[in-house]
């Protein structure tokens, strides 16, 4: 029956830091931000700007 505390100290003892990419992939909210921001900017905002910019016929 291990409890949480030795594990904590285990984590702290490990010398190496977690690689940055692994940290990103372990962070659901950073991923959520990226996954919403990318298509919003590249698809919706860019697309809507192009539609707004369509000239009026002579």
């Amino acid at each position: 029956m291990a409890n949480a505390s030795p594990q904590n100290s285990n984590d702290e003892l490990s010398d190496e830091p977690i690689p940055p990419m692994q940290q990103l992939l372990d962070n659901p909210f950073a991923l959520l931000f990226l996954g919403v921001a990318m298509p919003t900017v590249l698809y919706i905002v860019w697309g809507v700007m192009e539609i707004v910019g369509i000239p009026i016929a002579k």
Binding site: L32, E50, I51
Partner: protein, 574 residues
């Protein structure tokens, strides 16, 4: 408020199952199957109408049925099931409790009411035959949009319950290190769902106000652009979810582990970043949007999401191959595949889903998502041919095969009609593959989608399609009926098993409270896992899969350039 921490331990897998989460998984899955039943009956009517020899329904009823078929299948069946998958991946796979079951029930209630209201608008009122896409300025009754909005809000809440569960699991240390790959795939689906629903809200809420007269005009091009952020991305939720299901089934049936966590998760990251840009596939034949926007978005930023799919397409069978080889099926290129449990519907369904999605859905999707090639495909029946290969052979069949695992483990019932279950994936998968293929064939000959009568009865001027196109449509109907039989078999098996199947009881079964049993998993070794052992050939651990992948690539390249060749023969346009 007291938190319910009651769990049961799954005797088959050792996972702890949170009881409120289990009830939610069951209700969402059962509702999904009801939507599938409704959608399936409608599918039969659609097939029997487009089969010109039968031509069952009159035009107005056909368009109503087609609208309801699209919504019940593409939205209600799939998203209810996906919510069940999210709860499964968030709780069972992490040994965690579900965050706020109350909100999860609110989400369910909203989704159910939304689905009912929308079906009421389409099928009972009968004045909302505007297709799944509901393009303005063709208008539906306001309850059509309201139903979709309610459903979307419910689904959004369900997504946040899942994200909250990830937070709870991490805080309560129910697992160590990173979440499992399958849960990560579910997270990918969840993130895409959040964008999908946001895009839906941006366009459907104004459209709702337009339908009750508060807004005077909605621009059709703006509508199509934003709506497809919802309509196409909702299908990308499916892709992520069913890829996660593939990994799960490979793990369940073979004990397969991902060839490398880095590659598989990296591929999911590419989905998160780029998959949703493909909403532009639908706007390639529209005026006003520039080629820059079209090329960048339609190619998911240089096909990086296609790269991700090609990676999953390798690593899922690759993981199975490695697991099989390690079990001793190490002879030749394909012994691992020959000796796979082809009579187990959990596996056979998943494998047909993988092959069908890749070869039929994947290749056709990339081809018609090419800016110029879309000109010879747009709005022909090729398009539903493509997405029946992705969403039905890919997603629906993957979900079906998962059900065969879930019935004994979550519903605790023995599978009824096991003999039929053995054949069901073949009937459904192969029938549906033929159906998709013949639709694509008819589409290349110009047959339009969403069209009641390809003989143009009653029109002033008529177009005569070539005899081959008629033949394709007949073959489409016949293979479609085979798939309907397969779908009916699935419904029969699941409904009977869940409601009247023999209960599975485990001797000595008792509920446990998680707090009493707070055995946190042991700490992870601080090591780097080495590569796989001495299996495979020429330094390739999965040579059979690699050969299959190369075969896939060759088909892909050939088909892609055949279509360019064909395009080069049509009238010059500029």
């Amino acid at each position: 408020m007291a938190v319910n921490r009651m769990f049961r331990v799954c005797p088959a897998t050792g996972f702890k199952v949170h009881e409120p989460a289990e009830a939610l998984m069951k209700i969402n899955a059962v509702t999904a199957v009801v939507a599938l039943l409704v959608g399936g009956i409608l599918a039969l009517l659609v097939i029997l109408t487009r089969w010109q020899t039968v031509h069952l329904l009159p035009a107005d009823a056909f368009y109503m049925v087609l609208t309801a078929h699209g919504l019940n299948m593409l939205v209600f069946w799939i998203i209810f099931f996906e919510v069940a998958v999210l709860y499964f991946c968030g709780t069972v796979l992490l040994n965690s409790r579900l965050a706020t079951p109350t909100f999860a029930w609110v989400a369910y209630a909203l989704m159910l009411i939304g689905a009912l209201v929308n079906n009421y608008a389409v099928m009972i009122r009968g004045d909302s035959s505007v297709m799944f896409t509901s393009y303005v300025p063709m208008g539906a009754h306001w309850s059509f949009y309201l139903g979709l909005i309610l459903f979307a809000v419910g689904a959004l809440i369900a997504c946040f319950v899942f994200l909250g569960t990830l937070v709870v699991a991490k805080a309560e240390r129910t697992y160590n290190g990173s979440v499992s790959l399958v849960t990560f795939g579910a997270l990918t689906a969840c993130i895409i769902a959040v964008f999908t629903i946001a895009a839906g809200a941006i366009i459907l809420i104004p459209t709702f106000f337009w339908s009750i007269g508060l807004i005077s005009h909605i621009d059709s091009l703006m509508y199509r652009t934003v709506w497809w952020g919802f309509g196409h991305s909702s299908q990308q939720i499916n892709v992520s979810a069913h890829v996660a299901v593939w990994y799960a089934i490979a793990a369940i049936v073979f004990g397969a582990k991902p060839m490398s966590e880095k590659v598989s998760r990296g591929a999911f990251l590419l989905y998160i970043l780029f998959l949703q840009l493909a909403s532009a596939h639908h706007l390639l034949a529209d005026p006003g949007l520039t080629s820059n926007w079209k090329i960048f978005n339609t190619s998911y930023a240089m096909y990086l999401a296609v790269l991700a799919s090609m990676v999953h397409g390798l690593t899922v069978p690759g993981a199975i191959e490695v697991a099989q080889r390690e079990k001793g099926f190490n002879k030749g290129l394909f012994e691992w595949l020959r000796k796979a449990p082809w009579g187990n519907p959990v596996f056979s369904g998943m494998f047909i889903s993988l092959i069908g999605f890749g070869f039929l859905g994947g290749i056709s999707g990339v081809m018609m998502g090419t800016e110029q090639l879309n000109l010879i495909i747009h709005n022909t029946i090729y398009v539903p041919g493509h997405f029946h290969a992705t969403v039905v052979v890919g997603t629906t069949l993957a979900f079906m095969s998962l059900t065969y695992f879930v019935i004994p483990t979550i519903f605790r019932r023995e599978l009824m009609f096991p003999g039929l279950a053995k054949w069901q994936p073949y009937l459904f998968g192969l029938g549906m593959s033929g159906f998709s293929l013949f639709m694509m064939g008819a589409g290349t000959l110009g047959v339009p989608r969403r069209h009641w009568d390809m003989s143009f009865a009653g029109a002033l001027m008529q177009h005569e399609f070539p005899a081959t196109a008629w033949l394709m449509m007949t073959l489409m109907a016949i293979t479609g009926l085979v798939a309907i039989v397969g779908g009916a078999a699935y419904l029969l098996i699941t409904v009977c098993s869940v409601f009247i199947g023999k209960k599975i009881t485990t001797p000595g079964f008792k509920h446990i409270s998680a707090r009493d049993n707070a055995a946190a998993p042991v700490s992870l070794p601080n090591v780097v896992v080495p590569s796989h052992g001495n299996i495979g050939t020429a330094g390739f651990v999965a040579p059979g899969t690699f050969v299959l992948a190369i075969g896939f690539l060759i088909s892909f390249v050939l088909y892609y350039f055949v279509n360019w060749k064909y395009l080069s023969t049509v009238w010059p346009l500029n």
